[in-house]
Symmetry: C2
Subunit: 251 residues, 2 copies
Amino acid sequence: QGQSADEASAVRRKEKTEFEEDDKLSLLTWNIDGLDGEEQPQRARGLCSYILEYSPDVVLLQEMVQPYIRFMHKRLATNYTFIKGGEIGYFTTILLKKTRVTLLDSKILPFRYSQLTKFYYNSGERMRQFNAVIKRMSMAPDDFTVLFGGDTNLRDYEVATVEIPESICDLWEQLGEPEKCRYTWDTWANTNKEMRFKNRLRFDRVYLRRAVKDGVPRMEPHSMALVGLEKLKCGRYTSDHWGIYCTFSVD
Amino acid sequence: QGQSADEASAVRRKEKTEFEEDDKLSLLTWNIDGLDGEEQPQRARGLCSYILEYSPDVVLLQEMVQPYIRFMHKRLATNYTFIKGGEIGYFTTILLKKTRVTLLDSKILPFRYSQLTKFYYNSGERMRQFNAVIKRMSMAPDDFTVLFGGDTNLRDYEVATVEIPESICDLWEQLGEPEKCRYTWDTWANTNKEMRFKNRLRFDRVYLRRAVKDGVPRMEPHSMALVGLEKLKCGRYTSDHWGIYCTFSVD
DNA sequence: CCAGCTAGG
DNA sequence: CCCTAGCTG
Protein backbone atom coordinates (compact mmCIF):
# COMPACT_ATOMS: atom_id res chain seq x y z
CA GLN A 1 0.00 0.00 0.00
CA GLY A 2 1.10 3.49 -0.72
CA GLN A 3 3.86 2.10 -2.88
CA SER A 4 4.42 2.81 -6.52
CA ALA A 5 3.99 0.61 -9.53
CA ASP A 6 7.01 0.87 -11.77
CA GLU A 7 7.29 0.13 -15.41
CA ALA A 8 10.23 -0.19 -17.72
CA SER A 9 10.41 -1.11 -21.35
CA ALA A 10 13.56 -3.03 -22.01
CA VAL A 11 15.55 -4.55 -24.84
CA ARG A 12 18.05 -7.33 -24.26
CA ARG A 13 21.80 -7.39 -24.93
CA LYS A 14 24.64 -9.77 -24.02
CA GLU A 15 27.35 -10.59 -21.43
CA LYS A 16 28.00 -13.45 -19.03
CA THR A 17 28.52 -14.10 -15.30
CA GLU A 18 28.59 -17.10 -12.98
CA PHE A 19 24.79 -17.33 -12.59
CA GLU A 20 23.92 -15.94 -15.93
CA GLU A 21 23.17 -17.90 -19.02
CA ASP A 22 23.67 -15.74 -22.01
CA ASP A 23 20.36 -16.58 -23.59
CA LYS A 24 18.26 -16.02 -20.46
CA LEU A 25 16.83 -12.87 -18.99
CA SER A 26 17.49 -12.77 -15.25
CA LEU A 27 15.52 -10.84 -12.65
CA LEU A 28 15.87 -10.22 -8.94
CA THR A 29 12.99 -8.84 -6.90
CA TRP A 30 13.41 -8.03 -3.22
CA ASN A 31 11.73 -6.11 -0.46
CA ILE A 32 14.89 -4.95 1.26
CA ASP A 33 13.17 -3.53 4.37
CA GLY A 34 14.92 -0.19 4.32
CA LEU A 35 12.62 0.96 7.10
CA ASP A 36 14.44 -1.39 9.46
CA GLY A 37 17.14 0.83 10.95
CA GLU A 38 19.21 -2.01 12.39
CA GLU A 39 22.62 -2.65 10.85
CA GLN A 40 21.81 -0.71 7.70
CA PRO A 41 25.38 -0.33 6.39
CA GLN A 42 26.04 -4.06 6.66
CA ARG A 43 22.69 -4.95 5.14
CA ALA A 44 23.12 -2.50 2.26
CA ARG A 45 26.57 -3.98 1.65
CA GLY A 46 25.05 -7.48 1.74
CA LEU A 47 22.44 -6.43 -0.80
CA CYS A 48 25.08 -5.07 -3.16
CA SER A 49 27.12 -8.25 -2.82
CA TYR A 50 24.10 -10.38 -3.75
CA ILE A 51 23.39 -8.18 -6.76
CA LEU A 52 27.02 -8.35 -7.94
CA GLU A 53 27.12 -12.10 -7.33
CA TYR A 54 23.90 -12.92 -9.19
CA SER A 55 24.32 -10.10 -11.66
CA PRO A 56 20.65 -10.01 -12.68
CA ASP A 57 19.69 -8.10 -15.79
CA VAL A 58 16.78 -6.48 -13.98
CA VAL A 59 16.48 -5.71 -10.25
CA LEU A 60 13.18 -4.70 -8.63
CA LEU A 61 13.58 -3.39 -5.11
CA GLN A 62 10.89 -2.41 -2.64
CA GLU A 63 11.03 -0.43 0.59
CA MET A 64 14.11 1.38 -0.61
CA VAL A 65 15.31 4.43 1.35
CA GLN A 66 17.72 7.26 0.52
CA PRO A 67 20.70 6.03 2.64
CA TYR A 68 20.61 2.71 0.76
CA ILE A 69 20.41 4.51 -2.58
CA ARG A 70 23.54 6.56 -1.90
CA PHE A 71 25.48 3.48 -0.82
CA MET A 72 24.32 1.35 -3.72
CA HIS A 73 24.90 4.06 -6.27
CA LYS A 74 28.60 4.11 -5.38
CA ARG A 75 28.95 0.37 -5.92
CA LEU A 76 26.58 -0.29 -8.78
CA ALA A 77 26.09 2.86 -10.83
CA THR A 78 28.80 1.81 -13.26
CA ASN A 79 26.96 -1.36 -14.17
CA TYR A 80 23.34 -0.43 -13.54
CA THR A 81 20.90 2.30 -14.49
CA PHE A 82 18.88 3.38 -11.47
CA ILE A 83 15.17 4.22 -11.71
CA LYS A 84 13.85 5.53 -8.44
CA GLY A 85 10.16 5.27 -7.74
CA GLY A 86 10.21 8.10 -5.23
CA GLU A 87 12.32 10.44 -3.14
CA ILE A 88 10.90 10.56 0.35
CA GLY A 89 10.12 7.91 2.93
CA TYR A 90 10.37 4.53 1.25
CA PHE A 91 9.87 3.73 -2.40
CA THR A 92 10.63 1.23 -5.14
CA THR A 93 13.77 1.21 -7.27
CA ILE A 94 14.54 -0.55 -10.53
CA LEU A 95 18.09 -1.36 -11.60
CA LEU A 96 18.83 -2.23 -15.23
CA LYS A 97 22.14 -3.79 -16.21
CA LYS A 98 23.58 -1.42 -18.80
CA THR A 99 25.30 -4.09 -20.88
CA ARG A 100 22.19 -6.24 -21.13
CA VAL A 101 19.18 -3.96 -21.10
CA THR A 102 18.41 -0.74 -22.91
CA LEU A 103 15.94 1.55 -21.23
CA LEU A 104 13.62 2.99 -23.84
CA ASP A 105 11.11 4.63 -21.55
CA SER A 106 10.02 4.56 -17.95
CA LYS A 107 7.00 5.69 -16.02
CA ILE A 108 6.15 5.73 -12.33
CA LEU A 109 2.51 5.08 -11.53
CA PRO A 110 1.76 5.91 -7.92
CA PHE A 111 -1.16 3.94 -6.55
CA ARG A 112 -4.08 6.05 -5.50
CA TYR A 113 -3.89 5.93 -1.76
CA SER A 114 -7.25 4.81 -0.46
CA GLN A 115 -7.60 2.80 2.69
CA LEU A 116 -11.23 1.95 1.93
CA THR A 117 -12.65 1.44 5.40
CA LYS A 118 -9.64 -0.19 6.94
CA PHE A 119 -11.04 -3.34 5.43
CA TYR A 120 -9.55 -6.01 7.60
CA TYR A 121 -5.90 -5.14 7.78
CA ASN A 122 -5.78 -3.54 4.34
CA SER A 123 -6.86 -6.66 2.54
CA GLY A 124 -9.23 -4.62 0.39
CA GLU A 125 -6.53 -2.19 -0.60
CA ARG A 126 -4.15 -5.02 -1.53
CA MET A 127 -6.76 -6.63 -3.72
CA ARG A 128 -7.72 -3.35 -5.38
CA GLN A 129 -4.06 -2.78 -6.26
CA PHE A 130 -3.62 -6.38 -7.39
CA ASN A 131 -6.66 -6.04 -9.65
CA ALA A 132 -5.17 -2.88 -11.12
CA VAL A 133 -1.84 -4.62 -11.80
CA ILE A 134 -3.51 -7.61 -13.46
CA LYS A 135 -5.70 -5.34 -15.56
CA ARG A 136 -2.76 -3.22 -16.69
CA MET A 137 -0.72 -6.28 -17.61
CA SER A 138 -3.52 -7.79 -19.67
CA MET A 139 -4.16 -4.50 -21.48
CA ALA A 140 -0.59 -4.29 -22.82
CA PRO A 141 -0.19 -4.52 -26.62
CA ASP A 142 0.20 -8.12 -27.77
CA ASP A 143 3.79 -7.62 -28.94
CA PHE A 144 4.85 -6.61 -25.41
CA THR A 145 6.19 -8.94 -22.76
CA VAL A 146 5.13 -7.68 -19.32
CA LEU A 147 6.82 -8.61 -16.07
CA PHE A 148 5.56 -7.77 -12.62
CA GLY A 149 7.62 -8.51 -9.56
CA GLY A 150 7.50 -7.38 -5.99
CA ASP A 151 6.21 -7.61 -2.48
CA THR A 152 2.44 -7.82 -2.78
CA ASN A 153 1.58 -8.75 0.80
CA LEU A 154 -1.10 -10.87 -0.85
CA ARG A 155 -2.51 -13.92 0.88
CA ASP A 156 -3.44 -16.92 -1.25
CA TYR A 157 -7.11 -16.53 -0.38
CA GLU A 158 -7.00 -12.97 -1.63
CA VAL A 159 -5.45 -13.93 -4.97
CA ALA A 160 -8.11 -16.65 -5.26
CA THR A 161 -10.88 -14.05 -5.41
CA VAL A 162 -9.35 -12.37 -8.46
CA GLU A 163 -9.97 -13.60 -11.99
CA ILE A 164 -6.52 -13.83 -13.58
CA PRO A 165 -6.60 -14.10 -17.37
CA GLU A 166 -5.04 -17.07 -19.15
CA SER A 167 -2.42 -14.81 -20.64
CA ILE A 168 -0.85 -14.08 -17.26
CA CYS A 169 1.02 -16.61 -15.15
CA ASP A 170 2.50 -16.72 -11.70
CA LEU A 171 6.17 -17.66 -12.02
CA TRP A 172 6.19 -19.92 -8.97
CA GLU A 173 3.07 -21.79 -10.07
CA GLN A 174 4.37 -22.12 -13.61
CA LEU A 175 7.54 -23.74 -12.31
CA GLY A 176 5.56 -26.43 -10.48
CA GLU A 177 5.14 -24.74 -7.10
CA PRO A 178 8.56 -25.73 -5.74
CA GLU A 179 8.29 -25.98 -1.95
CA LYS A 180 11.86 -24.70 -1.61
CA CYS A 181 10.91 -21.23 -2.76
CA ARG A 182 7.28 -21.02 -1.66
CA TYR A 183 7.65 -18.68 1.30
CA THR A 184 9.38 -15.37 0.78
CA TRP A 185 8.55 -14.11 4.28
CA ASP A 186 9.29 -16.65 6.97
CA THR A 187 9.65 -15.84 10.65
CA TRP A 188 10.68 -19.41 11.38
CA ALA A 189 13.86 -18.99 9.40
CA ASN A 190 14.31 -15.22 9.38
CA THR A 191 14.91 -13.67 12.77
CA ASN A 192 15.28 -10.01 11.75
CA LYS A 193 11.95 -9.16 13.33
CA GLU A 194 12.32 -11.34 16.42
CA MET A 195 8.63 -12.22 16.50
CA ARG A 196 7.16 -14.30 19.26
CA PHE A 197 4.91 -16.09 16.78
CA LYS A 198 6.05 -18.00 13.76
CA ASN A 199 4.60 -17.86 10.29
CA ARG A 200 5.50 -18.09 6.63
CA LEU A 201 3.81 -16.50 3.66
CA ARG A 202 4.28 -16.04 -0.05
CA PHE A 203 4.23 -12.25 -0.09
CA ASP A 204 6.63 -11.72 -2.97
CA ARG A 205 5.44 -12.75 -6.40
CA VAL A 206 6.47 -12.55 -10.03
CA TYR A 207 3.92 -12.45 -12.86
CA LEU A 208 4.56 -12.83 -16.57
CA ARG A 209 2.31 -11.74 -19.40
CA ARG A 210 3.85 -13.28 -22.51
CA ALA A 211 3.86 -11.51 -25.84
CA VAL A 212 1.30 -13.22 -28.02
CA LYS A 213 1.92 -11.70 -31.44
CA ASP A 214 3.55 -13.90 -34.07
CA GLY A 215 7.21 -13.22 -34.69
CA VAL A 216 7.77 -11.58 -31.29
CA PRO A 217 10.30 -13.32 -29.00
CA ARG A 218 8.43 -15.42 -26.42
CA MET A 219 9.57 -15.53 -22.81
CA GLU A 220 9.07 -18.56 -20.54
CA PRO A 221 9.81 -19.00 -16.83
CA HIS A 222 12.97 -21.09 -16.54
CA SER A 223 14.22 -21.07 -12.95
CA MET A 224 13.58 -19.53 -9.58
CA ALA A 225 15.49 -19.39 -6.29
CA LEU A 226 15.32 -17.52 -3.02
CA VAL A 227 18.11 -15.08 -2.20
CA GLY A 228 19.35 -13.67 1.09
CA LEU A 229 19.07 -16.87 3.09
CA GLU A 230 22.47 -16.37 4.71
CA LYS A 231 22.98 -14.41 7.89
CA LEU A 232 25.39 -11.51 7.49
CA LYS A 233 28.39 -11.13 9.79
CA CYS A 234 26.38 -8.66 11.89
CA GLY A 235 24.02 -11.48 12.83
CA ARG A 236 21.06 -10.22 10.80
CA TYR A 237 19.71 -11.10 7.39
CA THR A 238 19.78 -8.64 4.51
CA SER A 239 16.03 -8.19 4.88
CA ASP A 240 13.08 -9.76 6.66
CA HIS A 241 11.99 -10.91 3.18
CA TRP A 242 13.88 -13.29 0.97
CA GLY A 243 14.57 -12.07 -2.54
CA ILE A 244 13.47 -13.95 -5.65
CA TYR A 245 16.09 -14.55 -8.33
CA CYS A 246 14.61 -15.95 -11.51
CA THR A 247 15.44 -16.50 -15.14
CA PHE A 248 13.38 -16.55 -18.29
CA SER A 249 14.16 -18.25 -21.55
CA VAL A 250 13.62 -16.17 -24.66
CA ASP A 251 12.10 -17.90 -27.68
CA GLN B 1 -22.52 -18.69 -0.09
CA GLY B 2 -23.47 -22.11 -1.14
CA GLN B 3 -26.43 -20.65 -2.93
CA SER B 4 -27.26 -21.00 -6.58
CA ALA B 5 -27.13 -18.48 -9.37
CA ASP B 6 -30.32 -18.60 -11.36
CA GLU B 7 -30.97 -17.51 -14.88
CA ALA B 8 -34.07 -17.03 -16.88
CA SER B 9 -34.61 -15.76 -20.37
CA ALA B 10 -37.85 -13.85 -20.50
CA VAL B 11 -40.12 -12.10 -22.97
CA ARG B 12 -42.68 -9.50 -21.92
CA ARG B 13 -46.46 -9.55 -22.25
CA LYS B 14 -49.26 -7.38 -20.84
CA GLU B 15 -51.76 -6.93 -17.94
CA LYS B 16 -52.24 -4.39 -15.19
CA THR B 17 -52.48 -4.18 -11.38
CA GLU B 18 -52.39 -1.44 -8.77
CA PHE B 19 -48.59 -1.13 -8.67
CA GLU B 20 -47.97 -2.11 -12.22
CA GLU B 21 -47.54 0.18 -15.13
CA ASP B 22 -48.20 -1.68 -18.30
CA ASP B 23 -45.10 -0.49 -20.05
CA LYS B 24 -42.71 -1.30 -17.19
CA LEU B 25 -41.07 -4.54 -16.19
CA SER B 26 -41.42 -5.07 -12.45
CA LEU B 27 -39.18 -7.19 -10.25
CA LEU B 28 -39.20 -8.22 -6.62
CA THR B 29 -36.10 -9.72 -4.99
CA TRP B 30 -36.19 -10.92 -1.40
CA ASN B 31 -34.23 -13.08 0.99
CA ILE B 32 -37.21 -14.53 2.83
CA ASP B 33 -35.18 -16.22 5.61
CA GLY B 34 -36.82 -19.62 5.32
CA LEU B 35 -34.27 -20.97 7.78
CA ASP B 36 -35.94 -18.96 10.52
CA GLY B 37 -38.44 -21.43 11.97
CA GLU B 38 -40.45 -18.83 13.88
CA GLU B 39 -44.01 -18.16 12.70
CA GLN B 40 -43.40 -19.72 9.32
CA PRO B 41 -47.06 -20.09 8.27
CA GLN B 42 -47.81 -16.44 9.00
CA ARG B 43 -44.64 -15.26 7.33
CA ALA B 44 -45.24 -17.38 4.23
CA ARG B 45 -48.79 -15.99 4.08
CA GLY B 46 -47.38 -12.46 4.42
CA LEU B 47 -44.94 -13.12 1.58
CA CYS B 48 -47.74 -14.33 -0.70
CA SER B 49 -49.83 -11.27 0.15
CA TYR B 50 -46.97 -8.96 -0.79
CA ILE B 51 -46.47 -10.78 -4.06
CA LEU B 52 -50.17 -10.62 -4.91
CA GLU B 53 -50.33 -6.97 -3.91
CA TYR B 54 -47.31 -5.82 -5.90
CA SER B 55 -47.87 -8.38 -8.63
CA PRO B 56 -44.27 -8.20 -9.94
CA ASP B 57 -43.54 -9.73 -13.33
CA VAL B 58 -40.44 -11.43 -11.94
CA VAL B 59 -39.80 -12.58 -8.37
CA LEU B 60 -36.33 -13.63 -7.15
CA LEU B 61 -36.39 -15.35 -3.78
CA GLN B 62 -33.47 -16.49 -1.65
CA GLU B 63 -33.29 -18.80 1.35
CA MET B 64 -36.41 -20.56 0.22
CA VAL B 65 -37.33 -23.87 1.91
CA GLN B 66 -39.72 -26.68 0.98
CA PRO B 67 -42.52 -25.82 3.46
CA TYR B 68 -42.71 -22.33 1.96
CA ILE B 69 -42.75 -23.73 -1.56
CA ARG B 70 -45.74 -25.97 -0.85
CA PHE B 71 -47.66 -23.11 0.71
CA MET B 72 -46.82 -20.62 -2.02
CA HIS B 73 -47.56 -23.06 -4.81
CA LYS B 74 -51.17 -23.36 -3.62
CA ARG B 75 -51.66 -19.61 -3.71
CA LEU B 76 -49.56 -18.53 -6.66
CA ALA B 77 -49.17 -21.42 -9.09
CA THR B 78 -52.11 -20.21 -11.16
CA ASN B 79 -50.45 -16.88 -11.85
CA TYR B 80 -46.76 -17.72 -11.64
CA THR B 81 -44.34 -20.25 -13.08
CA PHE B 82 -42.02 -21.58 -10.37
CA ILE B 83 -38.33 -22.24 -11.02
CA LYS B 84 -36.71 -23.84 -8.02
CA GLY B 85 -32.96 -23.51 -7.60
CA GLY B 86 -32.72 -26.61 -5.41
CA GLU B 87 -34.57 -29.24 -3.42
CA ILE B 88 -32.86 -29.69 -0.10
CA GLY B 89 -31.94 -27.31 2.67
CA TYR B 90 -32.42 -23.76 1.41
CA PHE B 91 -32.27 -22.57 -2.17
CA THR B 92 -33.32 -19.81 -4.55
CA THR B 93 -36.63 -19.69 -6.39
CA ILE B 94 -37.74 -17.61 -9.37
CA LEU B 95 -41.39 -16.83 -10.05
CA LEU B 96 -42.45 -15.59 -13.48
CA LYS B 97 -45.89 -14.08 -14.02
CA LYS B 98 -47.49 -16.19 -16.71
CA THR B 99 -49.43 -13.37 -18.33
CA ARG B 100 -46.42 -11.11 -18.62
CA VAL B 101 -43.39 -13.25 -19.07
CA THR B 102 -42.67 -16.22 -21.28
CA LEU B 103 -40.02 -18.60 -20.08
CA LEU B 104 -37.88 -19.66 -23.02
CA ASP B 105 -35.14 -21.45 -21.15
CA SER B 106 -33.74 -21.72 -17.64
CA LYS B 107 -30.54 -22.95 -16.11
CA ILE B 108 -29.40 -23.34 -12.53
CA LEU B 109 -25.71 -22.65 -11.96
CA PRO B 110 -24.66 -23.83 -8.52
CA PHE B 111 -21.69 -21.96 -7.15
CA ARG B 112 -18.67 -24.08 -6.54
CA TYR B 113 -18.61 -24.36 -2.79
CA SER B 114 -15.21 -23.26 -1.60
CA GLN B 115 -14.71 -21.60 1.74
CA LEU B 116 -11.20 -20.49 0.84
CA THR B 117 -9.65 -20.24 4.29
CA LYS B 118 -12.59 -18.74 6.12
CA PHE B 119 -11.25 -15.38 4.98
CA TYR B 120 -12.77 -13.01 7.50
CA TYR B 121 -16.36 -14.07 7.73
CA ASN B 122 -16.42 -15.46 4.18
CA SER B 123 -15.54 -12.17 2.58
CA GLY B 124 -13.32 -13.94 0.07
CA GLU B 125 -16.07 -16.32 -0.97
CA ARG B 126 -18.55 -13.48 -1.41
CA MET B 127 -16.15 -11.58 -3.63
CA ARG B 128 -15.27 -14.63 -5.68
CA GLN B 129 -18.97 -15.21 -6.35
CA PHE B 130 -19.58 -11.52 -7.05
CA ASN B 131 -16.73 -11.53 -9.55
CA ALA B 132 -18.28 -14.55 -11.24
CA VAL B 133 -21.68 -12.83 -11.47
CA ILE B 134 -20.22 -9.64 -12.93
CA LYS B 135 -18.17 -11.59 -15.42
CA ARG B 136 -21.13 -13.68 -16.54
CA MET B 137 -23.32 -10.61 -16.98
CA SER B 138 -20.73 -8.81 -19.06
CA MET B 139 -20.17 -11.85 -21.26
CA ALA B 140 -23.81 -12.03 -22.34
CA PRO B 141 -24.55 -11.41 -26.05
CA ASP B 142 -25.14 -7.73 -26.78
CA ASP B 143 -28.80 -8.23 -27.69
CA PHE B 144 -29.53 -9.64 -24.20
CA THR B 145 -30.70 -7.65 -21.22
CA VAL B 146 -29.32 -9.24 -18.06
CA LEU B 147 -30.75 -8.72 -14.59
CA PHE B 148 -29.18 -9.87 -11.37
CA GLY B 149 -30.98 -9.55 -8.08
CA GLY B 150 -30.55 -11.06 -4.68
CA ASP B 151 -28.96 -11.17 -1.30
CA THR B 152 -25.23 -10.80 -1.87
CA ASN B 153 -24.11 -10.21 1.72
CA LEU B 154 -21.63 -7.83 0.11
CA ARG B 155 -20.17 -4.93 2.05
CA ASP B 156 -19.46 -1.69 0.18
CA TYR B 157 -15.73 -2.06 0.75
CA GLU B 158 -15.86 -5.48 -0.89
CA VAL B 159 -17.67 -4.20 -3.96
CA ALA B 160 -15.12 -1.37 -4.16
CA THR B 161 -12.30 -3.85 -4.82
CA VAL B 162 -14.08 -5.27 -7.88
CA GLU B 163 -13.77 -3.69 -11.30
CA ILE B 164 -17.36 -3.37 -12.58
CA PRO B 165 -17.59 -2.69 -16.34
CA GLU B 166 -19.36 0.42 -17.66
CA SER B 167 -22.06 -1.76 -19.17
CA ILE B 168 -23.34 -2.90 -15.77
CA CYS B 169 -25.10 -0.66 -13.27
CA ASP B 170 -26.30 -0.97 -9.71
CA LEU B 171 -29.99 -0.13 -9.65
CA TRP B 172 -29.82 1.77 -6.36
CA GLU B 173 -26.85 3.86 -7.50
CA GLN B 174 -28.44 4.54 -10.86
CA LEU B 175 -31.55 5.90 -9.14
CA GLY B 176 -29.47 8.43 -7.20
CA GLU B 177 -28.73 6.40 -4.07
CA PRO B 178 -32.04 7.13 -2.33
CA GLU B 179 -31.48 6.96 1.42
CA LYS B 180 -34.96 5.53 1.91
CA CYS B 181 -34.02 2.23 0.31
CA ARG B 182 -30.32 2.03 1.09
CA TYR B 183 -30.36 -0.61 3.79
CA THR B 184 -32.03 -3.92 3.06
CA TRP B 185 -30.86 -5.52 6.30
CA ASP B 186 -31.44 -3.32 9.32
CA THR B 187 -31.46 -4.57 12.88
CA TRP B 188 -32.50 -1.14 14.11
CA ALA B 189 -35.84 -1.43 12.36
CA ASN B 190 -36.20 -5.19 11.95
CA THR B 191 -36.46 -7.13 15.19
CA ASN B 192 -36.82 -10.66 13.78
CA LYS B 193 -33.36 -11.60 14.98
CA GLU B 194 -33.50 -9.80 18.32
CA MET B 195 -29.84 -8.83 18.16
CA ARG B 196 -28.15 -7.01 20.98
CA PHE B 197 -26.11 -4.98 18.50
CA LYS B 198 -27.59 -2.73 15.87
CA ASN B 199 -26.48 -2.40 12.31
CA ARG B 200 -27.74 -1.72 8.82
CA LEU B 201 -26.27 -2.93 5.57
CA ARG B 202 -27.04 -2.99 1.86
CA PHE B 203 -26.91 -6.74 1.44
CA ASP B 204 -29.52 -7.05 -1.30
CA ARG B 205 -28.65 -5.60 -4.66
CA VAL B 206 -29.98 -5.45 -8.20
CA TYR B 207 -27.68 -5.14 -11.21
CA LEU B 208 -28.64 -4.40 -14.79
CA ARG B 209 -26.61 -5.10 -17.91
CA ARG B 210 -28.45 -3.29 -20.70
CA ALA B 211 -28.72 -4.69 -24.18
CA VAL B 212 -26.39 -2.68 -26.36
CA LYS B 213 -27.26 -3.85 -29.85
CA ASP B 214 -29.16 -1.44 -32.11
CA GLY B 215 -32.85 -2.18 -32.47
CA VAL B 216 -33.08 -4.18 -29.25
CA PRO B 217 -35.46 -2.77 -26.58
CA ARG B 218 -33.41 -0.90 -23.97
CA MET B 219 -34.25 -1.20 -20.29
CA GLU B 220 -33.64 1.56 -17.75
CA PRO B 221 -34.07 1.59 -13.96
CA HIS B 222 -37.25 3.51 -13.21
CA SER B 223 -38.19 3.05 -9.55
CA MET B 224 -37.22 1.19 -6.41
CA ALA B 225 -38.84 0.62 -3.02
CA LEU B 226 -38.35 -1.58 0.01
CA VAL B 227 -40.96 -4.20 0.77
CA GLY B 228 -41.91 -6.01 3.98
CA LEU B 229 -41.54 -3.03 6.29
CA GLU B 230 -44.77 -3.85 8.13
CA LYS B 231 -44.96 -6.15 11.12
CA LEU B 232 -47.31 -9.09 10.58
CA LYS B 233 -50.06 -9.85 13.08
CA CYS B 234 -47.82 -12.46 14.70
CA GLY B 235 -45.46 -9.67 15.75
CA ARG B 236 -42.69 -10.58 13.37
CA TYR B 237 -41.64 -9.28 9.99
CA THR B 238 -41.89 -11.40 6.85
CA SER B 239 -38.12 -11.76 6.86
CA ASP B 240 -35.08 -10.28 8.57
CA HIS B 241 -34.31 -8.70 5.16
CA TRP B 242 -36.45 -6.16 3.38
CA GLY B 243 -37.40 -7.05 -0.18
CA ILE B 244 -36.63 -4.79 -3.15
CA TYR B 245 -39.48 -3.99 -5.52
CA CYS B 246 -38.30 -2.21 -8.63
CA THR B 247 -39.47 -1.30 -12.10
CA PHE B 248 -37.67 -0.83 -15.38
CA SER B 249 -38.78 1.18 -18.35
CA VAL B 250 -38.47 -0.53 -21.71
CA ASP B 251 -37.24 1.54 -24.63
C1' DC C 1 -26.11 -12.79 12.44
C1' DC C 2 -22.40 -6.96 12.51
C1' DA C 3 -17.65 -4.87 13.41
C1' DG C 4 -14.00 -3.64 16.29
C1' DC C 5 -10.95 -5.03 19.63
C1' DT C 6 -7.95 -8.14 22.43
C1' DA C 7 -5.36 -12.02 23.77
C1' DG C 8 -2.45 -15.74 22.71
C1' DG C 9 0.02 -18.89 19.62
C1' DC D 1 4.74 -7.49 11.85
C1' DC D 2 1.50 -13.29 11.29
C1' DC D 3 -3.25 -15.62 12.26
C1' DT D 4 -7.28 -17.14 14.92
C1' DA D 5 -10.70 -17.27 18.38
C1' DG D 6 -13.41 -15.00 21.49
C1' DC D 7 -15.58 -11.11 23.61
C1' DT D 8 -18.64 -7.00 23.45
C1' DG D 9 -21.51 -2.98 21.96
